[in-house]
């Protein structure tokens, strides 16, 4: 069976800025795939490009962009809108503003069902009520008639999740779904997503910059830097043998109780993510990398570091690890 989502050499540009520079990504059915990286590395743009939700001034190119074997590149807006909300759904970072303030929770949920599956409004409302219960919202029947401004941020994000599940999608893209929420609520939402994934066999592309979240929920991780996926591996392999210097640096930024001495300086990677133009060649990380050499300005080939573990660096596996 083909993979659920396959992205190869995705490029997204906004004018003379390349936001995504040849990113590749594959998601299996039912897996939780985490996409990690710093702000501005192109995570969200990659997600929007997959969903066909990029702004009008963006340009998208890819060697391959397929969902369940169907090529998305040739689909027009109408074709994409048939998939979105039905077979692939997305939730966002900003639960406070992502729901329409003028319509009730119930009507916003029901319209997804009515659009893709038809049926009566009453049936759609019943489905909405059922799903609000599943995302553990109390008295779901009452919530249907409420407006977004009557709900807290955590509740709104639950509504967004329930709304995304209306048509039982195969893929859910969650773009930093817990970043804007309180820490206690974050944990609840993450647990909810995992439970739903197990129950529904959903594939989740979870975008996050929180490596603690990655360690807890991911099956597979792709690390993004400056518009490229620099390393992709099963979660255990990535944490045990980070191969790309950037991945090592990123892991070095996370303090581990017991391993890091109290008062010792926290790890960091000097510099910021560069804004690269379309003419840029070679490794985007070379200005911040301890291993940088003239060869890094050449086009870098993707290489394997283990089973289903690949990375984008001129160094042999094992050489970059000492960057930590």
């Amino acid at each position: 069976m083909t993979r659920l989502l396959e992205v190869e050499d995705l490029e997204v540009g906004f004018g003379d800025v390349s936001a995504v520079r040849g990113a590749s990504l594959a998601i299996e059915r039912g897996e939780t795939h985490c996409l990690v990286g710093e702000s501005g590395c192109g995570k969200s743009v990659t997600a929007l490009a997959i969903m066909g939700l990029l702004a009008r001034n963006a340009t998208r190119r890819a060697a391959r962009l397929s969902f369940d074997g169907q090529d998305l590149r040739g689909l027009d807006e109408r074709g994409m809108s048939r998939l979105r909300g039905d077979r692939m759904a997305m939730i966002f970072q900003e639960p406070m503003t992502s729901l329409n303030p003028a319509y009730t929770v119930g009507s916003q949920m029901a319209e997804v069902m009515l659009r893709h599956r038809g049926g009566t409004r009453a049936a759609a409302m019943a489905r909405a009520e059922d799903l609000l219960g599943r995302v553990r919202i109390t008295s779901p029947g009452m919530r249907l008639g409420q407006y977004p401004h009557q709900l807290s941020g955590g509740l709104r994000q639950r509504v967004m999740i329930a709304m995304a599940l209306m048509c039982e999608p195969e893929l859910l893209i969650a773009d930093e779904p817990t970043t804007a929420l309180d820490v206690t609520v974050q944990a609840q939402i993450l647990r909810l997503l995992l439970d739903l994934q197990r129950d529904l066999g959903l594939a989740i592309l979870l975008i996050t910059h929180d490596l603690g979240v990655v360690a807890r929920v991911a099956h597979r991780v792709s690390v993004m830097y400056a518009g490229e996926v620099v390393e992709s591996a099963p979660v255990e392999a990535l944490f045990a043998h980070p191969t790309h210097p950037y991945t090592s640096g990123l892991l070095g930024c996370v303090p581990v109780p017991g391993k890091v001495a109290r008062g010792a300086p926290l790890g960091s990677i000097a510099g910021v993510v560069p804004r690269l133009g379309p003419e840029f060649r070679g490794c985007g990380f070379r200005d911040r990398c301890a291993h940088a050499a003239p060869a890094c300005a050449q086009t870098i080939a993707r290489r394997a570091a283990g089973p289903r573990h690949d990375y984008l660096c001129r160094l042999e596996p094992g050489l970059a690890g000492d960057a930590r």
């Binding site: 809108s81 048939r82 979105r84 039905d86 966002f92 503003t97 992502s98 303030p101 003028a102």
Partner: protein, 306 residues
């Protein structure tokens, strides 16, 4: 919640009404001795004194004011000095003309401004958007009496499609309606465009797209409802202006509505009529803003709560 909202708005409306009532009364008396202007240029001092007693102008102002308010509350605005008719009849005869004109003007303005504003927003910064902005600019820059005359010459005299003046049939309201609409279109259009641009860039529209909704549902259901509120408010103000302030249009097209009556009675110092017209127009404005607030509360649930 809605009732609470309504009660608060009504209370504010009543307060504004009372204030206008007082101002209408005081201002007409600041223009000089009313007895002198009523008695006319050839009156003797004795005539003036007689007029003063006959109209009750010799009594203290607060007494006059309370008496006027008391009568006005029962719908009696007294007798017009100039038209020699009851003020209430004078006004009620002219209200239908004014309302017809205002409604034609506003409907025409909305039916042009809303679609053009939406199209301009969806095609922001394209040549379509620019062309629409230029049309709006013309509407803003063109004096309405001049546009009225041009329409009369073109549609009335040369083509003979529409009557030039008077109030005999619905056709008489088309040309003045177009002129009124022209003055209202730019503001409505720009607010519609700005509101739609904001709404289309919002997170909930991204959500609506992520849900796979149709283009028409995204634009007309999700974006337009949120863009509508400032448009509703300004449309109410525009309608108020059309009902009360269209003196120029009413003069050009010989439509003797309330605006024309206001102008005539002011120039003749016909103070019972002036007071009544000012009060009436103020009440119309208040009702329109109240209506706009209510409509906005229906459109936006957050307003009902605050």
């Amino acid at each position: 919640m809605m009732l609470d909202f309504l009660a608060r708005r009504l209370l504010v409306a009543l307060l504004v009404c009372a204030t206008v009532l007082t101002f209408a009364f005081v201002l007409t008396r600041l223009g000089g001795d009313l007895a002198i202007s009523i008695a006319g240029p050839n009156a003797t001092a004795a005539d003036i004194a007689q007029v003063r007693v006959a109209y009750g102008l010799d009594r203290p102002m607060p007494v006059q004011f309370l008496e006027w308010v008391g009568r006005a509350a029962t719908g009696d605005f007294g007798q017009s000095f100039f038209f020699k008719e009851k003020v209430s009849k004078l006004i009620f005869d002219r209200l239908p003309i004014t309302f017809a004109l205002g409604l034609v003007g506003l409907s025409l303005a909305l039916s042009v401004a809303l679609p053009l504003g939406i199209v301009a927003a969806l095609r922001e910064n394209s040549w379509v958007d620019r062309a629409i902005s230029i049309v709006a600019l013309f509407g803003q820059a063109m004096p309405s009496f001049w546009l009225g005359l041009i329409l009369m010459i073109g549609l009335g005299l040369h083509l003979g499609w529409l009557p030039i003046s008077g109030t005999g049939s619905w056709e008489h309201f088309v040309m003045p309606g177009i002129v009124l609409a022209f003055s209202a279109i730019p503001a409505l259009l720009r607010l519609t465009r700005a509101g739609m641009i904001d709404a289309m860039a919002s997170d909930y529209i991204r959500t609506a797209r992520a849900k796979g909704l149709s283009r028409s549902s995204i634009v007309l259901k999700h974006a337009a409802r949120n863009a509508a509120m400032p448009v509703v408010s300004i449309a109410a103000v525009q309608l108020g202006f059309m009902l009360g302030g269209s003196i120029v249009i009413e003069t050009v097209f010989a439509l003797h509505g309330v605006g024309f009556l206001a102008w005539e009675s002011i120039s003749k110092n016909d103070f019972p009529t002036v007071q009544a017209v000012v009060l009436l127009l103020a009440c119309i404005y208040i009702l329109l803003t109240l209506g706009a607030d209510l409509l906005n509360a229906v459109l936006d649930p957050r307003l009902r709560a605050s």
